[in-house]
Assembly symmetry: C2
Homo-oligomer: 190 residues x 2
Amino acid sequence: MLEAVAEFLAVSGIEVVARARDGEEALARIAERQPAVALVDVRMPGIDGLEVARRARRAAPGTSILLYTGYGDRAVLAEAFDAGVGGFVLKEAPLDDLLRAVRTVAAGKTYVDPVLAASAIGPSTAPRLTPRERDVLRLLADGLSNEEIGKELFISAETVRGYIRKAMDKLGADTRTEAVAAALRQNLIA
Amino acid sequence: MLEAVAEFLAVSGIEVVARARDGEEALARIAERQPAVALVDVRMPGIDGLEVARRARRAAPGTSILLYTGYGDRAVLAEAFDAGVGGFVLKEAPLDDLLRAVRTVAAGKTYVDPVLAASAIGPSTAPRLTPRERDVLRLLADGLSNEEIGKELFISAETVRGYIRKAMDKLGADTRTEAVAAALRQNLIA
DNA sequence: GCGAGGATCCCCGTTTCGGGGGAGGGCTGC
DNA sequence: GCAGCCCTCCCCCGAAACGGGGATCCTCGC
């Protein structure tokens, strides 16, 4: 897969300066080569693509991150742009789209997969949760109590309650249970 | 859709004795004509296919119900066979499969869509919830309290608690919230 | 006809939740 | 450098949920 994509880009006139198999390696290569564009998979062992994007902004401010993944929804898209990525392409997209995306972000613009864009511009009813709020909801969905969640996240049970209340507020839920259900239904947590 | 299927069956040598647009009508026709096989959609306005199957067993004991729907999972499959249906076919299946299914159940045997069967014979980890348990979890996911659920279902809040506890038990959940999350994840409720 | 299982209801003491409030520290982007 | 957001923690109150028990009734299948 990695080889195939690199090969395709190379024959299409894009200079491929490096390849990496995981997040650590990707970051190292990005810092080292300072490429114009870094094509990064969201799902990777260790550091995921989003995290790579966040860190790369410091390590290589001139590099545009182009996320390349098999799946995307409103939530990850929003998070991705928060992380400062330059574009987002689905693996199912035709290879020409990938090429266009690379060139677009290389030019400093933003590229979003058209399929994804269609679903993202619709009524983005799904509220934005902070990472902490999501952590808490996830653990809540696994049946942990405030106390247990606190231990898990190294924060106090009171703080946990605070996050839950904020999440309930954002999701328009009357109970913590409804908040978890809403988050699940809207793919805000898994 | 209805017409197309009827047409196909007719030209394939199956005698189509009646058609119906909803559950009520289907039941009436089944009772009236006592067909060997009734091809029924699960999702219908008013009485759904499962309910039609249950009632048809009384109204027409000799009729085999063949459910025909666009979507299916372990849970509905299990419920379907509890309701006494003779077979289950997905709309995505090739038309030949539909034909085979009709002939199979007409012969008094059971037919299950091969795609569905594959997923159903796997580790059926999803527990069985009673209708009442599902009702309660659904309302719980909508943020209602025990009291409110009770009013909604015309039962006491204590009874509601009882169902929730049973559902928690079946789902291996420690909290009502986890029970709802588990039910959502396993498509036991929507 | 008898057992299994579903649906219904109840009690009681303990814990947690829901809903307010406030408050400080830190990073970040403009 | 300052506003804004996130993370963190704390207090109070009344209401609700929890845990674990038991109990009755009815229907359906064998």
